[in-house]
């Protein structure tokens, strides 16, 4: 530091500062973010490549072979049934040996096509849900590591030397995270829809009920909402605990332990669990949950019972939004009020 101790007379500010621009730069410069996104891309490409090997387009010859296999099973089944009837004999034979197997019992012909054809209506829809769930998990990690690293390095405090309005700092970080996670979710969903259409065209069929594509886009849209909420939830938990690893641990304990305990001990609370609401949000028409309401009565006898409830898309969205809002708000309020070391 001996060469130039003179303070240069350069202008201190040559352009307007932007917290959002700085936050965007900070986010995309994080190595952890880059590694997670690279792994996600590799995982997606690998998954689609693997899927492409598991499906094959139908041909008259493959359909004929599947049909033959199905008929063979019917013939063999009927043979076994006749043996059974002969051995048992009498009036009880029909009851013991059961009715004859029918084509309806064997299900769709596609079940006998190996590899099966890719069906956009079914596999494409499942893929939308799977991609949304995996992207949401990634978004939770990104949100948690984004703010957790700021706390562990205490660069959050250094930032306040430049922008002391804490709510503004938090708002900038949350805005960047929400926008980037939405972009990530849209890209992931779009990539899957394109991949699904390609798989349907080359390895199966795009046939489906009317309005199938609109339904898929609707599911993907709900997936985008889920991804944004999970990124904010990860951010909120890490911001409350001020540590990335603690946020991951909290997530593991909640999903692996707390939810299972609740399902066993308080089944009525299931419609308010994050996993159930995630599936309810993503699945077309929501999620049906069977609430086990069996109990031991006053005489000690076990009484079975239960009912099925439908957790709709809107319910799922509202519960997830409410939980995320509470966690994020708690972290922001504490950040705004607490003394910082």
């Amino acid at each position: 530091m001996s060469t130039a101790l003179e303070v240069p007379p350069a202008p201190a500010t040559s352009r307007r500062g932007s917290l959002l621009r700085a936050e965007l730069h900070r986010f995309r410069s994080r190595r952890m973010v880059r590694v997670l996104l690279l792994l996600a891309v590799l995982g997606f490409v690998g998954g689609v490549a693997t899927a492409s090997t598991q499906y094959a387009k139908t041909s008259p010859a493959r359909v004929a072979a599947a049909e033959a296999e199905r008929q063979q099973i019917l013939v063999e089944s009927e043979g076994y049934r006749r043996q059974c009837l002969d051995q048992v004999g009498g009036d009880a034979a029909e009851e013991q040996c059961g009715p004859p197997l029918t084509l309806d019992n064997l299900g769709d012909l596609s079940n006998f096509l190996r590899p099966a054809p890719f069906r956009l209506a079914e596999d494409g829809r499942n893929g939308v849900v799977a991609v949304a769930v995996l992207t949401a998990a990634l978004a939770f990690l990104l949100g948690a590591t984004y703010v957790g690293a700021e706390w562990s390095t205490r660069s959050m405090v250094a930032l306040l030397f430049w922008e002391p309005r804490r709510l503004r700092v938090m708002a900038a970080k949350l805005t960047i995270l929400a926008v980037l996670s939405a972009v990530l979710a849209v890209l992931a969903a779009a990539a899957w829809l394109l991949a699904a259409r390609a798989l349907a065209a080359t390895r199966g069929t795009g046939d489906g009920p009317p309005g199938l594509f609109g339904e898929l886009v609707g599911s993907a849209g709900r997936g985008v909402l889920l991804v944004v909420l999970m990124s904010l939830l990860g951010f909120g938990v890490a911001n409350l605990l001020r540590n990335t690893a603690a946020a991951f641990g909290f997530g593991f304990v909640y999903f692996a332990i707390v939810e299972n305990i609740v399902r066993g001990v308080r089944p009525r609370w299931q419609p308010y669990l994050l996993t159930e609401n995630t599936l309810a949000l993503l699945q077309e028409g929501g999620l049906k949950i069977f609430l086990n309401e069996s109990f031991v009565d006053s005489t000690g006898a076990y009484q079975t019972g239960g009912r099925e409830v439908l957790v709709g898309n809107l319910h799922g969205a509202l519960v997830l939004t409410a939980v995320t809002a509470v966690v994020v708000a708690a972290g922001v309020v504490l950040f705004a009020r607490r003394d910082l070391d």
Binding site: M1, S2, T3, A4, L5, E6, V7, P8, A10, P11, A12, T13, S14, R15, R16, G17, S18, L19, R21, A22, H25, R26, S29, R30, R31, A149, T153, R154, S155, V157, A158, L159, L160, F161, W162, E163, P164, R165, R337, D339, L340
Partner: protein, 309 residues
């Protein structure tokens, strides 16, 4: 206008399973514009809490705090652009390069990239600015922290132990830099340091903290004079006769390595007159100076212990 004004600042930290800690106890502090102001005090005296309150990181329980006449924290956003700070250890992303760490801060306030390069040059880090912060030595980290504090070309530069981790050449350069900044007519440097010699060499004025209060403040020379004992070292040819003259006049005199040490002298010239009147010619008359370390130790020891809640 005063750069820093603190009136009756009180801060108590509530701690789990331990008694509350009163870090600031009605602190009054004023730092005028320009120059280098030293901020001294033993560990736990409230220096860091004061700096954190100045920067809006800690909320005071009572009292007023102003920067450039603006109340803090309410109007801190209006003046933060004129304040650069290095508080304790530099706070940067370890996996980011030094340059990137500065650029991220610069973008927040609209500081140009050219200014980033200038500040890196200023602390002699330009050649290593592409390396990750976590690979830096302690001294390099400290220098990057100083560069960050200078990015805004602040009117108030708050430096908390800036020489930490620096080698002797680095310490010398930081002192030189602080001196230059304090003398540039634009910057006021508020320097918290444990190195009393550093403060004495560099600072124009000083405030000394003890138990959450400011126990002395003003130009360094005034603070030292305030703690002066009034002792004077006197040398005459006949020490025994001279001592007898002085003691007859009511002075407390002791031997001091070939001279006499006269305690509590209000007017040293009186000794000259007294001795000359008795035929003893004075060959040395030296007021015994108090250095900052002695003043610091005396002041912080003098502070009356407060009953802690």
């Amino acid at each position: 206008m005063d750069v820093i004004e603190v009136r009756g600042l009180t801060k108590t930290y509530r701690r789990r399973r331990r008694p509350a800690l009163r870090a600031l106890d009605g602190l009054d502090l004023t730092v005028g514009s320009g120059g280098v102001h030293g901020f001294l005090g033993p560990n736990g005296s409230g220096k860091t809490t004061t700096i954190r309150a100045l920067l809006g990181l800690v909320r005071a329980d009572e009292g007023e705090l102003r920067l450039f006449g603006r109340p803090v924290p309410k109007e801190l956003p209006a003046v933060i652009g004129q304040v650069g700070a290095l508080v304790e250890t530099p706070l940067f992303f370890p996996t980011f390069a030094g340059r990137l760490n500065l650029q991220l801060l610069a973008e927040t306030a609209g500081v140009s990239r050219g200014r980033v390069e200038e500040c890196l040059e200023l602390v002699d880090l330009r050649d290593r600015a592409g390396e990750r912060f976590k690979g830096y030595s302690l001294g390099m980290k400290q220098r990057l922290g100083i560069a960050a504090a200078l990015l805004k070309q602040p009117r108030l530069l708050v430096l908390d132990e800036p020489s930490n981790g620096l080698d002797p050449a680095g310490i010398r350069d930081v002192r030189e830099l602080v001196r230059r900044l304090g003398a540039d007519g634009h910057t006021t440097v508020f320097l918290s340091s444990h190195l009393l010699a550093e403060v004495e060499q560099v600072c124009d004025s000083v405030s000394i903290m003890a138990r959450g209060r400011c126990v002395a403040s003003g130009p360094v020379s005034d603070v030292l004079a305030g703690r002066s004992s009034g002792d004077v070292r006197v040398r005459v040819d006949d020490l025994a006769a001279g001592r007898a003259v002085l003691e007859r006049a009511g002075h407390r005199v002791s031997d001091d390595d070939g001279a006499l040490l006269v305690a509590g002298v209000q007017a040293p010239a009186d000794l000259t007159r007294l001795l000359a009147g008795s035929g003893h010619w004075v060959s040395e008359l030296t007021p015994v100076a108090v250095d900052l370390e002695e003043a610091f130790l005396a002041l912080t020891a003098d502070a009356v212990p407060e009953a802690r809640p």
